[in-house]
Structures are given as C-alpha cells and as structure tokens.
Amino acid sequence: MTEFIVNQWWLVAIVIASLIPLVMRIVSAGLLETLRTLDRRWIFLLLLWAVLIPIYFIGVTGRTFPEVPSVLARATFDEIDRLNPGDPILLAFDYDPPSEGELGPMATAFVYHAASKKLRMYFMALWPLGAQMIDNTIAKVITPDFRDLVYGRDYINLGFKSGQEGVIKVVVTNLRELYTTDSRGTAMQDIPMMEGITNIQQMKVIVSVSAGYPGTKEWVQYAVTPFPSLRLVAGATGVQAPLLYPYVPRQLPGLLGAIKGAAEYEKLVVDAYGGANADPKYLEALRRMGPQLVAHLLIITLIVVANVVFLMDRGRKR
C-alpha cells in the first residue's frame, strides 16, 4: 500500500488538490455549516475517487479481496457443475449495454463454466440488444479460449425474438414454432446440435442473466411454474435481485445478485477450472468488489455524518 502511494504520488496529489476547496470552505465556514449545506457535487467527487482509486489500485497491483461464496452462489454453481459433458443448457441473456457492467462478469463466468464442462450451449435473448451481448460473450470466452468448441455443434446463438414472455410460453413447448433459423440465418435442420431439440424442457438447466422485464421473473412464471421439472438459475442486477428472492429455492434454485453474487460464483468457477493463473477477464467481478467496498464504506460514512449533523441540529433546537 505504502509502495503504491509512493509510486503513484501524482494520483495522491490530484486527489488532495481536488479536495482543497472543500477544506478551505470547512476552515472558513466551519465543519458543521459546511456539512449542513454540502453541495452534492462534492459527494459526486468523493464517490468518483472512491471508485476510481481502487480500480486503479487493483489494476496496478492485481490484488483482490478474498471472497467467501454464499449458499446461493454455491447452489448456482452446483446446478451447472452436476451436469455431464454434452448436456444441453439454455443461456438466456436478457440485458443490454447499460447493465453490461453489472451483469457482464456473471455472463462471462456462466459461459466459462459451461464451456469448461463441455456442455452444449443454446443462447437466446428476449431483449433486442441481448443478441449483441451473446456475441460479445462468445467472442470473449469461447472464441479465444475454447477453440475446440464448434459453432452449431457445441454452441449456438438463437438470437433475439420479440414478444417478451410470449416467446417463453411458446419455446417451452415448441422451440421451432418461433425459431426457424439461428441468429446467423442458418436453418434449424442444418444445425447438428438442434437435432432432437424440440422444446426448452429438454434443457438440463436454464440460465437467465437479466436486467429487468422480460427476464428471470418471466422465466419463473412462464417456464418453471407450468413445468416444475425445469431447473432455473439466474443472475440479476442489484435492484432486481430482491424481487427474485421470493422464488428461491423452489422455483429458482440458484441466484446471483449483482457484482457480489458474480464475484462469489466467479471464485467457485475459477477455483474449479481456472487454475492458478486465471486470465484477468475471468476475475472481473472479484476485481470490482474493491471499488464496491470503498464506495459502500463512503456511503455509510456519509449517512453517519449526515445523521450526526441532523442530531446535533435537533439537539440545539430543543
């Protein structure tokens, strides 16, 4: 840490310089008055540093916090890990670029896990931009690191279909009614891994990575509820995850909530398949836990400070 500060003295200087006006205001107006009338832009600046410095620190040192997988992350991992090579698995990527930062790492980990297990991966999207997210994840994981996997034999991108939950209702009993070609326009009958696949019930596990509607909730309501033998695990944004807890564990055996859930799952996957020198792209969520920790601590500090001011003011009024 000391070495980092010494080597990155310029960063420390910038941070200190950016906060000088705030310190001057505290000196001139007093601490209490400054906090009472604190411009929100100071909070924005503090949060920027709280996120940026740990990102830079982890980037330079490569150090991350240790992660202890929770019950739900382990359950998610086990659902996929118990499968045998060649088992079909559906990966529904229902998110878009704005939520990529939060959901991208878990999507990467899911694909890395499935590819390491040599599962047959069927990708689909209910969001228009989900198809692009699928292509990006394939380009990130399968293309460079699993060269032996062949498109059409080991994995396929079925692409986006409009119709929200209507698509789920149809594909769960008849996949071919909506999907006559894959996202590249190849007819289903010409794709080896589509042979014998008629509906989604044939999938051993459904993985839903979603940022909202339509997403995991719809997969629970329209796939798992009418067909309880389906196994569904999900990765969701921090805002969406609380809404999915009611479905755990009967309808949703595994759930990863935001970056924290992704980091726990990432640890399990990398420990099992990544080896000692795992590619940093498979440790993205673990790396993001650093900024998350500092940002959370900052928010806690801000809330405490605001309450101290509030209580002092109230005490004075009495």
Binding site: G163, G185, T186, Y245
Partner: protein, 237 residues
Amino acid sequence: MKQTGPLLITAAGGFVLIVAYFIPFAQNWGELAAIWFDILAAVAFILGGGNLLKTHLKRISDRARGWGYSGVVVVSFLATLFVGLVKVGVNPSAQFPDFAWSGQYRQMGSAFWYLFQYAFTPLTATMFSLLAFYIASAAFRAFRAKNVEAVLLLGTAFIILLGRTFAGVALTSWIDPDVWAGFAYFTGLRLENLTVYIMSVFNTAGNRAIMIGIALGIVATSLKVLLGIDRSYLGKD
C-alpha cells in the same frame, strides 16, 4: 361518441381474452393479441421517428434554447438509420455470398457495429452509472434517524451495505466455531449470513405484501377500464 368506439373495442378485446384463458381451444389468443400489439408498436416506430424529426427540426429552425443538441440528435438519428438500413461495411452471409445485403446489419466490423460498440454502449453505460452518484447523494440527504422505524431502516441498510462486501466477512469472521465452539449457534449473525437472511425473509415478506396490493390494484383498474367506468385515460375526468 368519439369515445364509444375505443371503449367497445377495449371491452370486447379484454373480456374475450379473459374467457379465452379458460378455453383450451382459444388459450393462445392472448399470445396472438400480444403479437398484434407488437405489430402496432413496430408500425408506431415510424410515427415516433417522424415526430422526433419534426420536433427537433422545428427547434433548429426556431433557434430555440439548446437547438445545437437538436442538431446532434437529427444527425445521429439519420446516420445510424442510414448505416443500419444500407448495411454499410457488412459482408454478404456465407449462405448467400452473391447477395450484397444478405449479411447481418450488426455484423462485427460493420459501421453499425462500430456505432453500437463504441458510441451506444459507452454512452448508455455512462448514463446507467450515474445512478451510483445519485444513490450516494440521495442517501446523504434522505437517510435520517428521525424515529424508531428510520433507525431500524438505517441499521438494516448498514448491514446490507457491509454484508455485500468483504468488510462484512472481515468484521464478523470472529464468529467462528473454530474460535469458540459456542459460536456454532451464532454463525447466522455473521454479516454475510445476516444479509442473506434479511433479503430472503424481511425483504421477501415486504415485497410480497406490496406485490399483492399491486396485483389487486391491477385487477380493479383493469376491470374499471374494461367496463368503461374509468375513462380518464381517454381524457374524461
């Protein structure tokens, strides 16, 4: 009179679909109606695009405040539309190599792909990440220990905030049966476990209550709309 037509269509469509839900022969009518809506919404894109151009061209011609932004909107809209429709930089697909436009518009390396990858993605991600800054400022301003309930809320917030990071693990790692056998009964108090407990019990209970209220509200509102009792969305008060 102007409202009678839409009201009749609403009522007929709604009640037919409700009845269809119970008749196996007609159970897919709901999906059919959803597809009809999608077609309508897709056609409405043209309406939206036309309105977008009209609004912003008018602002530019009026030199209204911020008309420069309108210029950016119009140029970006037309440029994206052009490269997407004409498939600039798209190679023909392997299946139909003789047809210049047979490739996908979002093919890797195409102009549309570049716009998507290097303009759209970072711009939308930036907008989303603003949320973190607003959460910080809203927390600073709104979280006040005004009464007992607010104190409970604050305490819960701290547990969740800490429990979702390594700090939670570090702060309560001493509650470990290896440290003292008696701690085996208290591992649920470790912050990371407490977080899961709060989320899956208190949060779930609260969410379910709100969702039940909302579901009943939806039933009553839908019924009012179908029966024509509530016509305020058509402008009638």
